[in-house]
Symmetry: C2
Subunit: 314 residues, 2 copies
């Protein structure tokens, strides 16, 4: 039994140290030091390079080190073994804090006050609305969407949800499927997108959808917060919607291309808040603990948690 670890774009060192710290008994291999491929029974990966997972005859479980699994499901060389995606309270909490912060920033018209401050102007005639006047609509009601909804409700916002299938969350109306999307959007002032990236959701945040949002709400126009995946959105459609006034402002943590290219007009648009895919980071400590728990469950003959259904894409 051996664990193959690979995380593209993250510090390998920090993760290997965490594995050695939490599981000194575990035989950990890397892409550079894979040894006999027949030894590899588990893989903990983030965006593994093409081919890495293909030639492993003993592989029994793939653990995705992040909440999204689009980095795995899109590849043709993916072996037919179970995939467990991390659900981690620390990551979930961070996402809730990010969404709450951005929603409050738009509620309280912070960007308007920022502009006044730059002009040294005492804009005391700007009176922000209060949370009960504003409806946040959450697209995607998994662990991250549910936690965001919980915090927004505690802050006093009206909250509704939308997901592919019917979900039941206390204290909020949950819409389901394409046939209930219009109704959901028409009541939404702040759209929070935490959908998984699948063939069905790719590019869902587009001109057509933005035009269906509530246009006469208390924020002076609808606001978009996307902290899901960049390819859920059309960057160009967001810019066009801001120009035509269909969107008032956006907070984007993710982008079609990451890092966001230097030349992107999103960087210096006054109604765009850019954060560099940091809403919810995977902490090595939490993810390694999660991975070890899944390995232990399999050893005991129990199924791993949060198994991905390939046909639905998450």
């Amino acid at each position: 039994m051996a664990l193959l670890f690979h995380a593209t774009g993250w510090s390998q060192e920090e993760w290997l140290e965490e594995l050695a710290h939490q599981a000194p008994w575990l035989d950990v291999r890397t892409a550079e030091n894979i040894g006999d491929p027949e030894d590899i029974t588990h893989a903990l990966v983030w965006k593994p390079p093409a081919g890495l997972l293909a030639g492993l005859p003993s592989l029994r479980l793939i653990i995705s080190a992040g909440a999204g699994v689009d980095h795995l499901l899109s590849r043709p060389d993916l072996p037919d073994v179970p995939i467990s995606r991390v659900v981690d309270p620390d990551l979930t909490r961070r996402m809730g804090e990010y969404v709450a912060q951005q929603a409050l920033m738009h509620l309280r018209r912070q960007r308007d006050f920022d502009a006044c401050q730059r002009r040294r102007e005492w804009c005391s005639d700007i009176v922000p609305p209060t949370a009960p006047e504003v409806t946040c609509g959450i697209m995607g009601l998994g662990a991250l969407g549910a936690e965001s909804a919980r915090l927004l409700r505690l802050l006093g916002f009206r909250v509704a949800g939308w997901a592919r299938t019917r979900r039941y969350i206390e204290g909020m109306r949950c819409h389901a499927g394409p046939e209930e999307l219009n109704e959901f959007l028409a009541a939404t002032d702040i759209l929070v997108c935490l959908l998984p990236l699948t063939p069905e959701t790719e590019g869902i945040l587009n001109t057509d959808l933005f035009r269906r949002l509530r246009q006469d709400g208390p924020l002076g126009g609808p606001v978009l917060i996307n902290a899901g995946r960049g390819r859920l959105q059309k960057d160009a459609d967001i810019l066009a919607a801001l120009e035509e006034g269909t969107l008032k402002a956006v907070s984007l943590d993710v982008f079609e291309t990451e890092p966001l290219p230097q030349e992107s007009p999103l960087w210096n648009h006054p109604a765009v808040t850019v954060t560099p895919h940091v809403a919810a980071v995977s902490s090595p400590r939490a993810v390694v603990a999660y991975a070890l728990r899944q390995i232990a469950r399999m050893e005991r003959g129990e199924p791993p948690e949060n198994l991905v259904e390939r046909q639905r894409g998450y």
Copy 2:
């Protein structure tokens, strides 16, 4: 029976309309149209001009249209009648939302990400802490402080409080008096000031106090949020503390002089967020309803609510 209304700096029209709307039977007078001074039994005022309240022999109650009463207590011409200061759920909610928004903005290092965005820099190595790692310390535990503490606790922050006298609020430690101030400050990462302005509290937010805040916390230094009164703080000491690193950042809704003078260096300091005394506005609808309720209580022989104790200053 007649009500004298005067609010310096606010739109008289809007308030008079609201009074006419909610109490068409009420005889409302203004400074310009006061009629026989002997008729005036109640006064609803904000920063009344000197002398206005002095020659009213029938005056039985003064209602302060804002939460603070320093605009009244500081004047020598104040008649010796009860003063009721508005406590209004709408104003209280707005304050909680302001404090939650500013605290989350500092937690999530939004100003650092703003600076990255201006430089078109993908700063994905900035990892904000989470709320349970951060202690918010609330100075002033009246209605506004208690609501702010409640929201911050719901968001996951650790919260402590400090007030002149011992207060008991579920789920948080409340320090009392000068002898417990040091202990309170030494554990505080985000200091939220919602004290009333009194001779005891004037200038309390000064260099000496800033140096006693927790200096090695997870935000890289202590943060100040003042949404109480401007004269609680020394503007110059705030700038000096930012320079020496005793404060990491500040959010100020109030200032020693308001509007903040054009030439103030606070306007363009990168670690200062200026809002123009808008954290919690008095809505005419809510304040007028409050004033009418107090008048009705007196008519029924009940004491008005939220009576000011002059010797303590609030």
